[in-house]
Symmetry: C2
Subunit: 498 residues, 2 copies
Amino acid sequence: MSKAYEDRIRNAALRSRVVSAAEASELIEDGMVVGMSGFTRSGEAKAVPLALAERAKTIPIKITLMTGASLGNDLDKILAEAHVTARRIPFQSDPGLRRLINAGEVMFIDQHLSETVEQLRTHQLPLPDIAVVEAVAITRDGGIIPSTSVGNSASFAILAKKVIVEININQPLGLEGLHDIYIPTYRPNRMPIPIVAPDSRVGLPYIPIPPEKIAAIVVTEKADSTATINPPDDDTRAIAGHLIDFLKHEVTKGYLDDRLNPLQAGIGTIANAVLHGLIDSPFHDLKMYSEVLQDSTFDLMDAGKMTFASGSSITLSAQKYVDVLSRLGEFKSRLILRPQEISNHPEVVRRLGLIAINTALEFDIYGNVNSTHTTGTNMMNGIGGSGDFARNAYLSIFVTKSIAKGGAISSVVPMVSHVDHTEHDVDILVTEVGLADLRGLAPRERAPLIIRNCVHPAYRPALMDYFTRAKAMGGHTPHVLEEALSWHIRLRDTGRMA
Amino acid sequence: MSKAYEDRIRNAALRSRVVSAAEASELIEDGMVVGMSGFTRSGEAKAVPLALAERAKTIPIKITLMTGASLGNDLDKILAEAHVTARRIPFQSDPGLRRLINAGEVMFIDQHLSETVEQLRTHQLPLPDIAVVEAVAITRDGGIIPSTSVGNSASFAILAKKVIVEININQPLGLEGLHDIYIPTYRPNRMPIPIVAPDSRVGLPYIPIPPEKIAAIVVTEKADSTATINPPDDDTRAIAGHLIDFLKHEVTKGYLDDRLNPLQAGIGTIANAVLHGLIDSPFHDLKMYSEVLQDSTFDLMDAGKMTFASGSSITLSAQKYVDVLSRLGEFKSRLILRPQEISNHPEVVRRLGLIAINTALEFDIYGNVNSTHTTGTNMMNGIGGSGDFARNAYLSIFVTKSIAKGGAISSVVPMVSHVDHTEHDVDILVTEVGLADLRGLAPRERAPLIIRNCVHPAYRPALMDYFTRAKAMGGHTPHVLEEALSWHIRLRDTGRMA
């Protein structure tokens, strides 16, 4: 084995296990459960899954694929279209895979991201036969130092019988020391998770496994996929404005101080724009306790607004990726990457009192939120961590534009066609139109507020008419059942809700 | 003041504050927010609310009424019908109040029971102006020793400007020492809740408030309402049987040991019957970490099957009430009553790995559960603690009979008309027909299993037909939107689902 990898494979005995991706992929057999690294398209194993898809062209291989969250480099598409992915857990965001899920060809188990390894540890899901984990290095004791995400990699490696490590020599060694690997103790003697602030370090900087479990090492060099973040537009700026005005008002009332509570933000353009908006806000010394750290996190740090960020992955645009990875030394003392079980853990989320900002696909006039399904049936991506945060946050905020597809779709409907977050878990709704603060309100009080403050003017009269007629029929949560899903039926049949 | 209360009012200075219920009720003014003790019809303040309803006959008094959960002694009915209750938080179960909620006359904020005081503490709900708390005694330092429930009484008393204490001389002094009052520390320095087992004692045996906050003391003697628990019937016995068989199977596989994990059970006949079923099971050394302790808890203790129970209230049938209160000394070392914030806390529920058994009003073929609404619009009781437990439990189990109203209603429907527990939070469904284990299954796999194992034979063909036609239309969660709520529409219009 070349000396070039000595700093990456520090356990000398393990250097003999370096093989090609094709050879390593042969450890994965038809019918296996495979746990792969990767969370929001960062830090995924890159070479072995490709080799597996290649092998599947000649012999049928079907696996249950578990990851942290979505995979980059089109791997979810490639594996699905090669018919390797028979079952997929717990999240995805790939159009190709989505198509096969909605056609009923791939069984997708859409889970709260904090729960997958809890269910593995208690045998409620089948244990992974093998784990495939991207790393920047292996320690002398066989410890795996992850790259740009932790996701579920630690528990996968600990629980699997065998582990394949992909050493990615283009992921900088400077990532070492960023990770904090903490695994909850086993029941019935489980102890409190000792995290009391976003910057609490409570674990190890590597995944501790016995070196003999590492069955193969593959050296790779492909970069993470970069994120396509749409630039802020008038609507996302308006959403950010409404939310920041609201937070300022909470500070004025003395309910928050101007450092706010730790922030969580879902992935995507709107949440990124909202965080960006904080650069020009009066808030300071901000902290994040989130799952994905996007461009805005580092922009807030560079602007001197944010002092610390804890997440499970770093997912950046092309330009930011180069910038951040080249200045890792500068950021490292202000960053922690944790297992997603811990970044999203209900215990820690409730303790820290997060301000949680997530994106809704649609919400209804009573505050129920759909994050996953179009017209009640087709899966988009999955619930991800939004439920982990929304349920236990201090403030559970959902943001969306009031309309989609040029106005053909209203994001506010009489009744959501699928519920991911119930009315009990939603505090604040924001669109570019305005903000509705639902706290302490009954359903009949929420509806007119949501209609007035969040609905696009083109849909406002129709929704108010629905609510008025529903209210006349009575009930705690008035509905005209015949019409409750009629907007979705019209959308399905005509491509427009009205 | 009579010497008779010296053992009940141990702070001598406070004895001068004893007044009549009518006098005490005058501390409550129109427009106030009032926090009252009471959880699942036990330990509620009894005299002051009655006096308040009486006063409201001559002058208009409207209040926001917050409690632990439901009130006994018809107080929710009396206060609502006297038009005292303008807003009600966070739970109720009274037919009279329910009627006014569904008519839109009382605004009801239906909350997770763990969250109310969290929202008070952070000013997300208006703070109580006054708290009215039933107690068995007041300590020398002014500490309030609750009676048969803790509920939200501790935080109400701590956060309110004034406190009225109802000393109920018929609640035995033997209840002293049963309570464990722990209040989470304030953010940003909140520490882990140190409970690591159902029997962890981490707080004080009384509610600590400065004695000068006690504005009035009323001496009462009315008993708690007793619970009407229907005796087990063939259906509830069958439900218990299916669930116990399942648990035995989990033990056989080595996933649980025969002491099981700590149990939680919702209130009501079915959950009580399931727990009763454990008396004749091979399980032993059982523990509960629940909110309500019902007859079955004490029967399990008497049968030598249960060693410890932690809850927030004790709600018993008439016969059991007399029996348990007369043998308190015997039970006390095996019981703790906690604030509902702690009995239901996501942090502790996840840590302990509960087996959570709650009752569904209806569920759908994909595993979404409705616990609160009939025909999508009318409130029954509220979500209560079911969401606190279901989301974070090790096993989230929902039970119900497969049909209601002599077969006019199927408890399993194409799409629930209101979602309280999403598909992501439901592991096991049980009816008298059988049990469906949904863990690790995609929606298309769950539907045939639920239809086969849980649906009444009279409704099975229609549901299978619905699923077959929906599946032909495609989607991750196939639905025929036009028909998704048609069973509820038929029920509303004809009184029958089919």
